[in-house]
Amino acid sequence: MAGLAAAFGSGAMTNSYDDLETAGCFFVIGSNTTACHPLIARRIYRAKERGAKLIVADPRGIQLSSMADLAVNHRLGSDVALLNGMMHCILRNGWEARDYIDSRTEGFAELEAAVADYPPERVQAITGVAVRDIEAMADLYANHGPSALLYAMGITQHTTGVDNVKSCCNLALLCGYVGAAGGGVNPLRGQNNVQGACDMGGLPNVFTGYQPVTVPENVEKFSQAWGRPLSDKPGLTITDMVGAMLDGRLRALYVIGENPKLSDPDWNHLHHALKKLDLLIVQDLFLSETAQIADVILPAAAVAEKDGTFTSSERRCARIHKAVEPVGQALSDWEIISRLSTAMGYPMEYAGPSDIFDEMASLTPKSYAGMSYERLGLDGLQWPCPDSDHPGTPILHTQSCARGLGKFHAIAYQDPAEMPDQEYPYFLTTGRMFAHYHTGTMTRISPHLDAEQRRGYVSIHPADASKLDIADGDLLVLASRRGEMEAPARVNANVQPGCLFMPIHFGENPANVLTNAEAYDPLAKIPEFKVSAVRVAKAPEARP
């Protein structure tokens, strides 16, 4: 989100699902939308059936590729080069939105200079996408506007994640699509309340509503409201926490509703780190991989067992309602946190989530201040909603960007941290499949979802499979510089030759044994899940 915030001043989806349907063209990059955000894919279908164009750029062949006007498989991690190549073509043909650039943006000269180095011929060499396809992508995107750019983890989970996002923003600004209905730059959030967790200050450097902890007035305001002097020193990111655990600076970790052991890069590395803690508290629905090594395990209530709000990708804050009592002795997370805090000598006493929401809204002036449970109803409200008469904001940056002028960033392409070599000749990328979610703790115990996919697998291209004498279903051994693991093969032309794909949901075939914890984006601290170098072979014969 750092990339979006740097370009526009707000790190969130710029548009809404409703207005996306009015797009003249969709550019989907690094998002397997039909599998991971099916109800957003539906909006693409609807627009497309009315005549909107669809460009899909993904290292794999995905369901949307088959119905796209133009689908390209760019080499893993080459997004910046591809986007720069598109911008190069747009500028060379004079398709940019001059008036918009002059009146609403800054930094154009630097961008122009940067993308001058990316003629399509050079981009073809980096990305593997043909010159004519790069030109056609630029044409479709620039000349069938407004064009909506949609991306997901395929853009962010790279060492260059922030650069990738900034490049997406550059492209949208160049054509004047930021602030327009049916346009914008739209990150699709992988988890139901990522937006909310960020909005609520679940980050080391900001309080609620992205109010920095380094600004003295903010520290003063929250210290007053909470009745305790607060620290103005930004905290550790999750990626830095792992290092701090290993060298003994971090002694205790309280994990709420997460399973970092399976979702973190480099399983072995994290396992050692967690083992070194003096105290690990895990609060979850299930005895997840992380909970199994915790000192204290606290049973939490699930979504139908409590009241509260979630904030979706389109910044819509909406109510959830309690339908049944929690199982066993489980309690809502807010009740558990309140009890723990009170026992720590900092009493938290709330009658219910509505009280907590009101306290939060009163401290979050720009985005949530105008919201209350009564106003949210069943439709919710989209932030910013600064006062109690404000109807919410479906499209951001309509008059000007949140930061004033939209900022272009000159971005140079860099290779992923790890490229295939002789020892580890294959690219490995990771992702989700349609029936499962994240670390699988919720979906694999759901009978109907489990039935769709019971075990992990590695997708491998038929050409590679025949070269290595691998048949569908054979057990493979994959090894990277971090570790080694086994999984059955799925021979599938959806992956490119030289590239393997593994879903992330299966703890017994943890893809993250192989991925690279050392490689992460320096600013966003998002690890490079999407690219690692591996070698692959058939497992030694164990068949009868």
Binding site: R189, N192, F207, T208, F222, D284, K322, A323, I337
Partner: protein
């Protein structure tokens, strides 16, 4: 016989689809798309349609547990909270508040995220708050 339909939001991906939980005789028996919801307009994906199944799973944690030398022991809430709070207080006293980290979650509610970061910042005294959405 009781039957009710309780509106909520799907807790899988970040789209934010409106669902109805179907509760019969006090048991959660199904998930339906909310027909008139502005986000999903009466449709759901396979995960949404089966949202109730993870909630009613036999594998749900039902009691607080303490892990002593690899053995999980069921304990009451007071014991679990007391143990956790005492250990946290000791660690803060010995190593300072920045020796504690809190991982909040993209799966819990806004209210709970707010309280969790307030807990880290006010009750413990550290800005070591993050969540797994980076991952």
């Amino acid at each position: 016989m009781t039957l009710k339909f309780v509106p909520s939001i799907c807790s899988y991906c970040g789209t934010g689809c409106g669902v109805l939980f179907q509760v019969m005789d006090g048991q959660l028996v199904g998930t339906l798309p909310m027909k008139t919801h502005p986000v999903n307009q009466g449709k759901l994906c396979i995960k949404g349609w089966n949202l109730h199944e993870h909630i009613t799973s036999e594998l749900r944690l039902k009691h607080p547990l303490l892990n002593t030398f690899g053995r999980m022991t069921k304990v009451g809430w007071d014991d679990a909270i007391g143990f956790a709070a005492d250990r946290l207080k000791t660690i803060v006293a010995e190593h300072g508040p920045d020796s504690v980290g809190v991982l909040v979650s993209a799966k819990i509610t806004n209210e709970e995220n707010y309280l969790a970061q307030k807990f880290a910042r006010a009750a413990v005294g550290t800005n070591n708050v993050d969540h797994c959405a980076r991952l």
